[in-house]
């Protein structure tokens, strides 16, 4: 019997294996960028459900408000004006955690249990275990986590793990008035995306496609893009996201090497103790040193 409502697949900085026997439904959120009107109902519903409030900001001359993800704004709308096929296009992308199958934040995190991945695919931060080092930000290929200035802990979208655990859709999905955000099993979401892509291609967007990047093992938040060949158009969505090589250098090479050195020192000390015994200091030398110290 599990001690939590969702089975855990991976846990940060933990080497002991997690339960693997039960197979649970893999969930996904699908954001159809072509159906989004940028109303920000999702942003508001997110803050309402998660009991966070972003300070009222200032107008920066664009519709982006909040301007960037923060510890209180876990999802924001990014508006891009681009020219495609001699036409001005206003692309609106709902930005937030992508819930990667291979999460860079979890890999980089040194605090045991601060980042977990549930078997349904959700990547969740547990702030009570977070040490505020910010490695998750380095590890994230999408630049999503933010450290709070109030408590120095990292925050990001939880995909409403508390709602999903009781079979409710995330707050953003439920609120979306145009149906641009859908939630269900990953398989169903891919099917739905296929249907949307066919529709977009019939409307002249022959490069329409699904954004489910392989570099991070696929994501549990996917996009339907009208220009899937150029994800960069959508406020710099990376075309081939991958975990920074620094993370694998640290976790795959430097850390085991340091561990080996540490173990070597411990073993060497033990060997030295057994063969040579404790370092005995004679009374004379001690007196001599004390005399020197007294000067």
């Amino acid at each position: 019997m599990a001690l939590q409502s969702l089975d855990i697949k991976q846990r940060s900085a933990t080497t002991s294996p997690t339960p693997q026997a039960r197979i649970t439904l893999e969930v996904a959120k699908l954001i159809d960028v072509s159906a989004c009107i940028g109303c920000k109902a999702c942003t508001v519903a997110c803050m309402e459900w998660n009991d966070v409030r972003e300070e009222v900001g200032n107008c920066h001359g664009v519709y982006d408000n909040p301007v960037d993800l923060t510890e209180n704004a876990w999802t924001v709308m990014r508006f891009s004006e681009v020219e495609q096929n001699d036409k001005l296009e206003w692309l609106i992308r709902k930005d937030g955690c992508m819930h990667c199958a291979d999460p860079g934040c979890l890999k980089a995190c040194p605090a045991p249990g601060a980042i977990v991945q549930y078997s349904n695919g959700i990547v969740d931060f547990h702030q009570e275990n977070c040490i505020g080092c910010g490695y998750c930000i380095t590890g994230c290929p999408f630049n999503v986590p933010r450290i709070s200035k109030k408590d120095s802990k990292a925050y990001k979208c939880t995909l409403c793990s508390d709602r999903v655990a009781v079979n409710q859709a995330p707050a953003c999905v439920k609120a979306c008035p145009t149906g641009a955000i859908q939630f269900g099993s990953k398989e169903d979401m891919k099917d739905y995306a296929e249907h949307r892509i066919t529709d977009l291609r019939e409307r002249g967007y022959d490069k329409a496609g699904l954004y489910d990047p392989e570099g991070v093992g696929g994501t549990h938040v996917m996009y339907v893009l009208h220009h899937a060949d150029q994800p960069n158009l959508y406020a710099g969505l990376p075309a081939n996201p991958a975990i920074s090589p620094l993370v694998s250098l640290w976790k795959g090479f430097a850390k085991p090497l340091a561990t080996l050195a540490l173990a070597g020192v411990a073993l060497g000390s033990l060997f030295h103790y057994v063969t040579k015994g404790p370092n005995e200091v004679s009374k004379e030398i001690e007196d001599e040193i004390e005399k020197e110290d007294a000067k």
Partner: protein, 195 residues
């Protein structure tokens, strides 16, 4: 800091031992990872209608407690009503932020009146407010009611006051509104749902 050779070795070996143990997985805080508890468990759910625009989306208002006598509830969450055919659970950004409007410090919580010639708002009771509205309506109707037009045809018309009905009204409430207003002879009737 003054540290002897012996103390230095003690600190070093303690640090090495501690980190080695932690590295082997014997972490002192092997805390369980659990999702945030579903915050609406056993909350009181109340159906209502969003007060903002004429679309009149259905909302579910969640409050603390079970309506027992000694524990007055407080609203903790509002979201869309999936059973309402108007919005089927969805909401716009204003509706999604409804809780902050309900609990806003700037919200008007009681009827106020600004008497003619005064520049101050005065708080009055709901009874006083309703009496006042009824008195104004009766006074206007008594002064302007037209039983017959100039040709002597009975019209029973009260055309000097208009009524804007609520868009949140159900069919039944709408029927009663029209029935009541027509009985008074009112001719200018509109509803916010048309706006």
């Amino acid at each position: 800091m003054n540290i002897t050779r012996r103390q230095f070795f003690k600190v070093c070996s303690a640090g090495l031992g501690g980190s080695s143990i932690a590295l082997m997985g014997f972490s002192p805080t092997a805390a369980l990872a659990e999702v945030r508890t579903f915050k609406l468990a056993r909350a009181t759910e109340t159906r209502n209608t969003c007060p903002y625009c004429s679309v009149s989306c259905g909302v579910l208002i969640y409050s603390t407690g079970d309506k027992s006598k000694n524990a007055p509830g407080e609203i903790i969450h509002i979201e869309g009503d999936p059973d309402n055919p108007v919005n089927r659970g969805t909401l716009c950004p204003k509706g999604a932020g409804l809780r902050d409007m309900v609990q806003s410090a700037n919200r008007l919580k009681w009827p106020e009146v600004r008497e003619a010639g005064s520049n101050e708002w005065k708080r009055i009771s709901w009874d006083e407010a309703l009496d006042r509205v009824a008195r104004h309506m009766k006074k206007d109707r008594d002064a302007n009611f037209m039983a017959q037009n100039k040709d002597g045809v009975t019209v029973n018309r009260w055309s000097s006051t208009g009524f804007l009905a609520s868009s949140a009204a159900s069919n039944e409430a709408g029927y009663l509104t029209v029935k009541m207003l027509r009985a008074l002879g009112m001719t200018s009737i509109d509803t916010q749902a048309r706006i």
